[in-house]
Symmetry: C2
Subunit: 337 residues, 2 copies
C-alpha cells in the first residue's frame, strides 16, 4: 500500500479524534470558545476547509511510526491528536508574538478575537493536548500513558525554549551560525522527534528503539528546516514570485544568512548596510551563493537527511519495513515549494 | 501541633521542590529564561523575598489535604509544586491580559521582558507544572500519577474557561448575577478544588473521599472569592485606605455589584451613570448596602463556608482529624484585609 492510501485512512481518523476532543461540550463548555478553536483548526468561519486545516503532518507521523513499529495505528490516535493540539497551541501564541496577521491565508485568532482571548485560546489548546493524551492509557496501557506524558512534557519544554531563543535572536545583533541549531532543535525538531517517539511508545517499543525513532524525527525536523531556509531564498516563490515571500526581505536569520554573515564577505557587507527591498532579492541571493551559503545549506540538509534515514533504519531494520516513512521523508525533503 | 508549626515544615519543602524543578538547567537550559521564572516566583531580582513569593496557599493546601487523608505529606510534594506552577503560569498570562504593570508590588514579567517573552515564560511554567507532577508516580504510584494528570488537566481547562468568561464579561454590558458563579468556579475554585483532590489522591483515598475533598476545595474557593469581593468594597483598604483599591473605582463586576445591578435601584442608576471617582466610593458603598448587597454577599460567603466545612467533615469524619484544614479555612475566611 503506498503512503497516500495509508494517509487516506489516517487523516479522517485524525480529524474525527481531534473534533471529539475539541468540540466536546464536556471538554470546552462555552460555544464561543469552541468557535475560536474550531476557527483556528480550520473547521469553521470564513475560509474554513482543507487549506485552512494544514497538512496534519505531525499526527500522521505519529501514526506512521506506530505502524512501522508494529502497532495498529488506531491505538496511537490519542498521541497523534495531542501533538497536533500542542502544535496549534504554539501557532496561536507564535502569531501573537510575531504580530502575524495571517495564518494559512486567514486572519489569525488574535486579529479576530483580540490579544487577551487569543493568549487564552492557546492555553486551552495546551490543556487539551494533555487531555487528549490521557486516552492512550486505555488504547495502549497505563505505563505507555505515563511515559507519553513524560515525552510530551519534554517536548513542551524544548518547544518553549526554542521560542525563547527565537525571540531573543530577533533583538540580538550577534547571532552566530552555532546559535542556529539549538533554536531549530527546539522550535521544529523537538516536536517531530516527539511524534516519532510517541508512535514507537504506543507500539510498546523498547527504550532503544524509541530513542532511534526520536532521533529519526529530530534529524528529519532539522533537515526539513534547512531545506525550508533554502526555499526561503532560492525557492520559486522567493526568487521569482512575490518578493515579500523571500526571507531576505523579512531579514530572517536563517541558516544561509547566518553562514553568509559568518563568511563576512560581500553578502555580509550588503546585509549590514540596511533594509532589503524587493528589487534587491536576486542580487543578494546571488551574493550568498557566491559566498558558498547555498552549497553549505544543501550539504547540511543532505547530511541531516542521511542521519535521519540511518536512524530510521536502526529503528526498523530490514528493507521496506518502514516504506511509508521513507516515502513521507522523501515527500517532505524533496519538495520544491 | 498547630497549623503554623506544620506550615513551618511544609513551606521550606515546597520552596525547595519548586526550585529543584524550575532552576534545574536540565529542565530549563537558558539562564536568562530561568531568570524570568525566578523573578516571577519571587526568588531573584529587585524586591525578591517572601513578600514577592506570595503565600503559597495552594501547595500548602495540597499537603495539608494529603496529611488529613492519612499520607506523609512529603509524598505529595510533586502535586503541590505542580499546582503552584500552574497558578503562576496563569498569573503571568493574566497580567498581560489585564495590562497589569505590578504584581505583589513589583513590575510584571511583560513589563520587564516584553509581551512575547512573557507569553512564552507563562508557557514554560505550564510545561513545568506537568513535568513536576511526573514525580508523583515515584513518590506514590503509577496509578496515582495518571489520575493526578487527569485531575490537573481538568483544572487547566476549567481555569482557562474561567479566564475566557472573565475576559468576555469585561466587554459585555449584560453580565448577570447568575453569570458570576461559573466564572469564579473556573478562575478561583477549580484550582483549589484540584489542590484538595490531588492531596487526597496522593494519599490513595477512594473516589468518594477524593470527591468530598474536591468539593471542600471548590466551596472554599467560592467562599473565599465572595469574601474577597466584600473586602474589595467594605474592607478597610477599600473604604478608608487608598481609594484606588476599591473595586468600585475599577468598576469590577464583583458579587455585590452584580447583586446591586440586578436590584435595579439607587445603586444601579448611579453605576450606569458613568465612572466612579475616589470621592464617590463611600456614597456608592452605602447605596449598595441599602440595596441589600452587603448582607447578600456575606450570606453567600457564610453559606459556602458551611458547605465547604460539611464536605471536609464528610471527607475526614471525626472531631479534630482535619484540625489543620479547619484552622486554614478559618484563616482564609476570617481575614479582614
Amino acid at each position: 500500500m503506498p503512503l497516500q492510501s495509508a494517509l487516506d485512512e489516517m487523516l479522517p481518523a485524525i480529524e474525527a479524534e481531534l473534533k471529539a476532543v475539541v468540540l466536546s461540550p464536556q471538554n470546552v463548555a462555552y460555544p464561543e470558545l469552541r468557535r475560536m478553536l474550531a476557527y483556528h483548526l480550520g473547521w469553521e468561519g470564513e475560509g474554513a476547509g482543507p487549506e485552512a486545516q494544514g497538512k496534519r503532518i505531525r499526527p500522521a507521523l505519529v501514526l506512521l511510526c506506530a505502524q512501522a513499529a508494529g502497532q495498529d495505528w488506531r491505538r496511537a490516535l490519542p498521541a497523534a491528536v495531542a501533538v497536533e493540539l500542542l502544535h496549534n497551541f504554539s501557532l496561536i501564541h507564535d502569531d501573537i508574538q510575531d504580530h502575524s496577521e495571517l495564518r494559512r491565508g486567514r486572519p489569525t485568532v488574535w486579529v479576530k478575537w483580540g490579544l487577551a482571548q487569543a493568549i487564552n485560546a492557546g492555553d486551552v489548546l495546551f490543556s487539551l493536548a494533555f487531555l487528549a493524551l490521557h486516552r492512550l492509557a486505555e488504547t495502549v496501557s497505563a505505563q505507555a500513558g505515563l511515559q507519553a506524558y513524560a515525552c510530551l512534557q519534554r517536548v513542551c519544554l524544548r518547544l518553549t525554549e526554542g521560542q525563547y531563543l527565537d525571540l531573543d535572536y530577533e533583538t540580538r545583533p550577534d547571532v552566530s551560525l552555532a546559535d542556529y541549531w539549538p533554536m531549530i532543535e527546539g522550535k521544529t525538531s523537538a516536536l517531530l522527534g516527539g511524534c516519532a517517539e510517541l508512535g514507537a511508545l504506543a507500539a510498546g517499543a523498547s527504550a532503544k528503539v524509541r530513542e532511534d525513532f526520536r532521533e529519526y524525527g529530530i534529524k528529519l525536523g532539522l533537515a526539513y528546516q534547512a531545506l525550508d531556509d533554502w526555499l526561503g531564498i532560492w525557492g520559486d516563490a522567493a526568487l521569482t514570485g512575490k518578493s515579500t515571500e523571500s526571507d531576505l526581505v523579512s531579514k530572517k536569520k536563517s541558516l544561509p544568512v547566518l553562514y553568509g554573515l559568518e563568511k563576512d564577505a560581500e553578502f555580509a557587507r550588503r546585509w549590514q548596510a540596511g533594509p532589503v527591498q524587493a528589487g534587491d532579492v536576486s542580487v543578494l541571493a546571488e551574493m550568498l551563493k557566491k559566498d558558498g551559503a547555498e552549497a553549505f545549506t544543501l550539504e547540511q540538509a543532505a547530511r541531516l537527511t542521511g542521519e535521519s534515514q540511518a536512524a530510521l533504519q536502526r529503528a526498523v531494520p530490514g528493507a521496506g519495513a518502514a516504506a511509508h516513512l521513507q516515502e513521507l521523508t522523501a515527500l517532505l525533503l524533496g519538495r520544491k515549494s
